[in-house]
Symmetry: C2
Subunit: 479 residues, 2 copies
Amino acid sequence: MNKSSKLHMKTDEFKKQGYKVIDWLADYYEHVEEYPVLSQVEPGDIRSKLPEKAPNTGRAHDEILNDMNILMPGITHWQSPNFHAFFPCATSGPAILGDLISTGLGVNGMSWATSPACTELETHILDWLVDMMDLPVKFKSNSKGGGVIQDTASSASLVALLCSREKASNGRTNENGSNGDFIAYTSSQAHSSIEKAVKIAGIGKNNMRMVDVDQNFSMDSSHLRQLIEKDISNGLKPIFVCATVGTTSSTAIDPVNEIGKICKEFGIWLHVDAAMAGPAALCKEYRFINDGLNYADSYNFNPHKWMLTSFDCSIFYVADRSQLINTMSILPEYLKNKTSTSESVFDLRDWGIPLGRRFRALKLWHVINYYGVSGLQEFIRTHMENTKILRSWIEMEKDFEIVTPTPLTLICFRHTKGNNFTEKLLNTINESGKAYMTHTKLNDQYIIRFSVGQTSTTIDHLKETWNYIVKTSKGMIEA
Amino acid sequence: MNKSSKLHMKTDEFKKQGYKVIDWLADYYEHVEEYPVLSQVEPGDIRSKLPEKAPNTGRAHDEILNDMNILMPGITHWQSPNFHAFFPCATSGPAILGDLISTGLGVNGMSWATSPACTELETHILDWLVDMMDLPVKFKSNSKGGGVIQDTASSASLVALLCSREKASNGRTNENGSNGDFIAYTSSQAHSSIEKAVKIAGIGKNNMRMVDVDQNFSMDSSHLRQLIEKDISNGLKPIFVCATVGTTSSTAIDPVNEIGKICKEFGIWLHVDAAMAGPAALCKEYRFINDGLNYADSYNFNPHKWMLTSFDCSIFYVADRSQLINTMSILPEYLKNKTSTSESVFDLRDWGIPLGRRFRALKLWHVINYYGVSGLQEFIRTHMENTKILRSWIEMEKDFEIVTPTPLTLICFRHTKGNNFTEKLLNTINESGKAYMTHTKLNDQYIIRFSVGQTSTTIDHLKETWNYIVKTSKGMIEA
């Protein structure tokens, strides 16, 4: 927007149209549960309604806002209380407004100097979170470690792997390239982004070991040890273990304490991926998810999943920030400034892959201050308690079978009529638009994942969805 | 926000506070040029004003909005008309509002199914842009290629390099890791993110050749050929050339046509980085920046720099999308759905590094529709013309010397009194808060980079800043 030019949106128009967008969003949230949760369009439906060419003359903002009517049928409603697919992306009013300020300010926090508040607020809040969640103090900025916001857990895992690679090679891979004898380890249940990171970093998928899991889908640490010892005896160099606290398939929790002891013994970088589970540690009673973090070289969890913060916001801690900076740092002349070679500030571009950085700390600032620690705890506890109730309902239905423990808010279940029936049931529910769940496979069984965690999901929503699942499955049997 | 729970922001409160944030931003833009452009705080100043612990009880949103008073002294004002540092991050009213809708909807466009409109709008707009900028049609989705929004040019370069690596090794690096004989090439003036990408991908800095530049700081293609031939004769494998159209130091333009012929001859992946320059091609008279793109395997430019779109929004095209997808794709069970193994849709998570994706196409939709092609052209032309005028003023001052051509909107100049004086002059201007410029070094000369391109910068702003620079330098000489 602009005070003078005819070309740009005037301040008055920005206000008027801004109010309209706010109203539009408020209305959206009032009615979000009336939409089919999973978009019901076919491939190409949305594009076929869009003009073939960009307009030569600009259009009124009212018209552009009206275009949302074309797009809305192609939206899958992640903010619906009946969204139980994948993991949640639970956002909130204060997060949306905090992010709006960030977008409006339009600063790029690549260096401390390019907006000191952007860097300092980020560091400050990430220090807060260490206290709020009782994480190891080594992750705080007044120790040797520190925290930074990444876009996603995928990037956090990649950065952790790169740190391990450079630590193991004393910086020589950055200089000379990979030498092919580095080995990374994670469980067969780990997130696909670990494999992607291993490929990106030039380690190679064949140098990644998929550690066996136990009957609860948690990493078998004795198998990890066997694999490490075998690799060492073959002249290979174990450099990286990714333990998962809350796997994507079933929220299985790896025994980080045992894994950490092995990593320490062999001098291996331990990254702990708690993308979904992490925020549970806001509540004392769920701090079992922090077990073993004292061994972690790096740790990741996502406030954009289960801490009311708009995507993207993924927290990444390292125990030794010099490892991170040595791995990622680049300092060309045009980025140098009075503080860039001093020890007094962090230049967060050296803490991740992209150079440019949004002011993402602002949305976290809004969320933590608006809810307070007690409000965030209530949010987590409500979901945990509602999940227990939902689980008890599923247990009572003899046609359904829960197949894994439920340490957090994901329930994995199947219909006793088997894989095909369960798959058909899930598709029928999703196509009804009443709820959206996704699936996984565990021991060759097709499993429905019912993930609780959206901002506005209440026990009534869960009851209604569960009743609909039962009714649908009975209808399918009778048909 | 929420209809029922006491915990969450009610819809009415969201509206009320949303209006306040819109008003706050409108007021910010009305007064943005009154702030010191470069933040004047010292390291730690902002943190020292923040509470040591997160609040236990939530605070009113009004109070949180007031916290901006603490943060504002720590903001460097990228949206000030007197911001001439680095390259611009020019945003606009429609971009801010488009992004607000995206944040509010809170969808994750990782797969087509998780919000078909998110994927289809992105593909559609990127096809529009090919036409708008007269780019090679091979980049359109109805050919073998396609486009995707990345966060930054750093990520785009990395993804391009990974594609080249996998193409050259027929996918074997993803499988087995790097083998150390791959070589990447770019000019000594290329962006630091190329070196960073080479490190991340396990190629190694020592396997990156810095090609010489000519007197205009453009890549010397005959030196590129020499380096390639020498590497081949040494048994090494050239895989990747990054040509830059508009380098960061001086917006030098590499001879892409000549470079492209060499790449074609030797079967090397050509990536063209036009992060800043790309939008100039919206105007027919500046389409010389597209020369040679017919040879490019991948191409990148940033609407978040010079096309009125809020950060982050970096456009990445490939000529053969199968190369990209083969390089980046991962498909675990929990991400499979009815369309995920079909050819009918794009799952854009396989076109970049992070799994999760914001609905970034919405802000571009707002910008292109609000301004229209003719409005965007006017925006570019105004900056180009104003830059010419500014250059003529600098040329008229005998104490100053322009050291490079000005093909776009960056003017590189120095004071005739030399490096120390020029550096002191720049620091004095920046510390005054009246304008913010950054520097580079070219042939061991300390150079002030005056970058034109912010949304609201007019010829009057340029005049005032230039007069202040002249006055300050004269004052320094007299002192």
